[in-house]
């Protein structure tokens, strides 16, 4: 793999971005139709999703081929690092919006509603709460069952992933593959357990602020776990194919950063959504 020394790498024109835009447009139209009970929503969503998957395969395939043919020099590698860091920062801000909603509800809106005796004479502030109007009682999620196990699972997976990385750096390919495999399996069991938890929940998305903050926060986190697991599966397949060198493996590191980020979000969820 000779490094490209000739300066900066600018890729040739590519169809993937416009394909991606088409995918997202179809998804948006499909969702609009579906949510408003109009015909054609589901098929449109399906088409959009198919195009999106096609685009992701095509685009990332191209990037991987370029990387493996040695066209990315040190500078490109640094660019990737910056971009991944800023991408994760944007994800942090996305989650902050929902954490903000949770804190706002707990610290401001629910206690404040309890002081509005003119409108809600019988409402008493407490958390979890489904607000002054929805009166049916519900049982909130307990921290020390499945969620605690899931915490352990994610923490362990962080460790196994780091172990896999050490393997890669030492050029111990078996350790790399094994570590990745275990991490992927842990990720999958996390998702399974969470699905189980959702299916047996005694409340729903529409159980007031508690229900919606709970499901939106854990739900978006769950989606991120699935995305992270998918990335790790790709990394596993690539390592099986012999990709990555001890010096040159940013894709692996990016997936690992992402995984750790998802990990940290979970810890916050565990503390603020389940436990306290």
């Amino acid at each position: 793999m000779s490094e490209n020394k000739q300066g900066y790498y600018v890729p040739t024109p590519s169809i993937w971005p416009i394909v991606g835009s088409l995918a997202l447009l179809s998804l948006a139209i499909g969702a609009t139709l579906l949510f408003n009970d109009l015909k054609g929503g589901l098929p449109m969503l399906g088409i959009g999703f198919a195009i999106l998957v096609y685009m992701l395969f095509g685009w990332f395939g191209t990037v991987i081929r370029e990387s493996e043919s040695g066209r990315y020099n040190r500078q490109v590698d640094t660019s990737f690092r910056w971009s991944m860091s800023w991408f994760i920062f944007s994800e942090v801000m996305f989650f902050s919006a929902f954490f903000g909603a949770l804190f706002y509800a707990r610290v401001i809106s629910v206690p404040m509603l309890a002081t509005q005796k003119l409108l809600w004479p019988n409402f008493v502030a407490s958390w979890p709460s489904s607000g002054p109007y929805l009166t049916n009682a519900f049982r909130p999620m307990q921290a020390w069952g499945i969620p605690a196990i899931n915490t352990l699972i994610l923490l362990t997976s962080g460790a196994t992933l780091t172990w896999a990385h050490w393997g890669l750096v030492k050029n111990n390919r078996v350790q790399l593959k094994l570590g990745l495999l275990v991490t992927v399996l842990l990720g999958l069991s996390f998702v399974t357990l969470q699905a189980h938890e959702y299916l047996h929940a005694a409340f729903s998305l529409s159980t007031g602020v508690y229900g919606c903050t709970f499901f939106m926060l854990t739900g978006f986190h769950g989606l991120h776990v699935m995305l992270g697991t998918t990335m790790l599966i790709v990394m596993l397949v690539r390592s099986l194919k012999g990709h990555f060198t001890p010096e040159h493996h940013f894709a692996f590191e990016a997936a690992a950063w992402y995984w750790h980020f998802v990990d940290v979000v979970w810890l916050l969820l565990f503390i603020f959504v389940y436990w306290l």
């Binding site: 509603l113 003119l118 409108l119």
Partner: protein, 370 residues
């Protein structure tokens, strides 16, 4: 010291502007204040305006001097300085000091505005799409206040009244010289109770009650409007407050109590009686969305003319009106009494192309209230 200066310059400027605004609708400044808070705001605004004008003249005086003199066409050669720490610190510190001088009186007024304690009287104000409801707490008087400008003026078929869009059927009446506390809330979306002459603007937020206060000394009629975008008729929900002497106020309250319309809950009304009253209820409450001709607005508000619910079982129709539908059709159970609801339903079921021939009685509505 500062206050006096402000008041004096303020007065001078007001005079100057007053002479400028010989034409009735050329008003350059805030409305004449009618409360103490409003005049504090008036002076504060003038003070800041003058300070900003001063800074503007200094800064852009320098700039335009430079533009006039330091131009190439006059042969001016460019200097080459590009830094001066002392100057830079100065023009960071001076604005900071000016800002502190502005913040001080502003903070005082804020605290004044927030002081709602020791009120003589409390009125609950509720925003509805698109009218205001006033509830004199502890006095048993409550009523709705609708725009009273006729449609024909809005559609330019008739010359417009002097108080076009700023007139209502039932103004809020308050006594002068008393501290009045308003509890402001909303029934549907966010509205804004805005009365410029009192220096009050408070958003009406569904589910929460917010309080403001005022004390007005001059008897008179004060006008404002809903200030927060609240849908289609946001521009058509004015606020009118009539301040009268305490004696007149007592008379007014008495008259209100006496005028509460009664109906006989057990009487069986004829269709004609119900339709006649129902037409009024419909025009005041329903026509805003479903339109006077019952055709609604396609895509936004369903037509009631030929509508399956209106021509279907009575109970469903009554429950729809009582409890609302789909989050967009309001629930009317707290706003209208059984007679109003029975009438409006009878009206809907026997108007336009609907001919069910049914007369709904108040008792039937009562039975379906939860």
């Amino acid at each position: 010291m500062l206050d006096k200066l402000v008041a004096r310059t303020g007065g001078g400027v007001a005079l100057m502007l007053a002479s400028l605004s010989a034409r009735a609708d050329l008003q350059y400044n805030l409305q004449p204040p009618a409360t103490n808070v409003a005049s504090q705001i008036y002076n504060l605004h003038l003070m800041v305006l003058w300070v900003c004008l001063g800074i503007f003249v200094v800064v852009f005086g320098a700039m335009f001097y430079s533009i006039l003199r330091h131009r190439k066409s006059l042969g001016h050669k460019a200097a080459n300085f590009h830094e001066n720490t002392l100057v830079e610190i100065t023009w960071t510190v001076i604005p900071f000091i000016i800002l502190m001088a502005m913040a001080y009186p502003a903070s005082k007024t804020v605290l004044d505005m927030k002081n709602t304690s020791d009120a003589d009287m409390t009125i609950k104000v509720t925003g509805y799409q698109w009218k205001w409801g006033y509830h004199y707490l502890g006095q048993g008087v409550n009523f709705f206040s609708n725009l009273s400008t006729p449609r024909s003026e809005i559609e330019n078929l008739q010359t417009k009244d002097k108080h076009y869009l700023l007139e209502v059927d039932h103004p809020m009446v308050v006594p002068t010289g008393e501290k009045i506390k308003l509890l402001i809330t909303s029934n549907d979306v966010i509205h804004g109770w805005y009365l410029p002459a009192f220096g009050i603007q408070q958003d009406a937020i569904p589910g929460f009650v917010k309080s403001v206060w005022f004390k007005v000394d001059e008897p008179g009629t004060y006008r404002g409007q809903c200030a927060q975008l609240c849908g289609k008729d946001h521009g058509f929900m004015p606020i009118v407050v009539k301040a009268v002497s305490p004696q007149d106020f007592t008379k007014w309250i008495q008259a209100q109590k006496a005028a509460v319309v009664t109906y006989n809950p057990n009487k069986t009304y004829t269709e004609a009686e119900l339709v006649q009253h129902g037409a009024q209820v419909y025009a005041a409450n329903c026509a805003a969305c479903h339109q006077a001709n019952g055709k609604g607005i396609p895509g936004a508000f369903p037509a009631l003319d030929g509508d399956p619910i209106v021509n279907g079982p009575k109970a469903v129709h009554i429950e729809t009106v009582l409890n609302g539908k789909g989050g967009r059709m309001p629930a009317w159970k707290d706003q209208l009494n059984d007679f109003d609801i029975a009438s409006v339903i009878t009206y809907e079921r026997n108007s336009w192309g609907n001919h069910t021939g049914e007369a709904i009685q108040p008792a039937e509505v009562k039975a379906l209230r939860k």
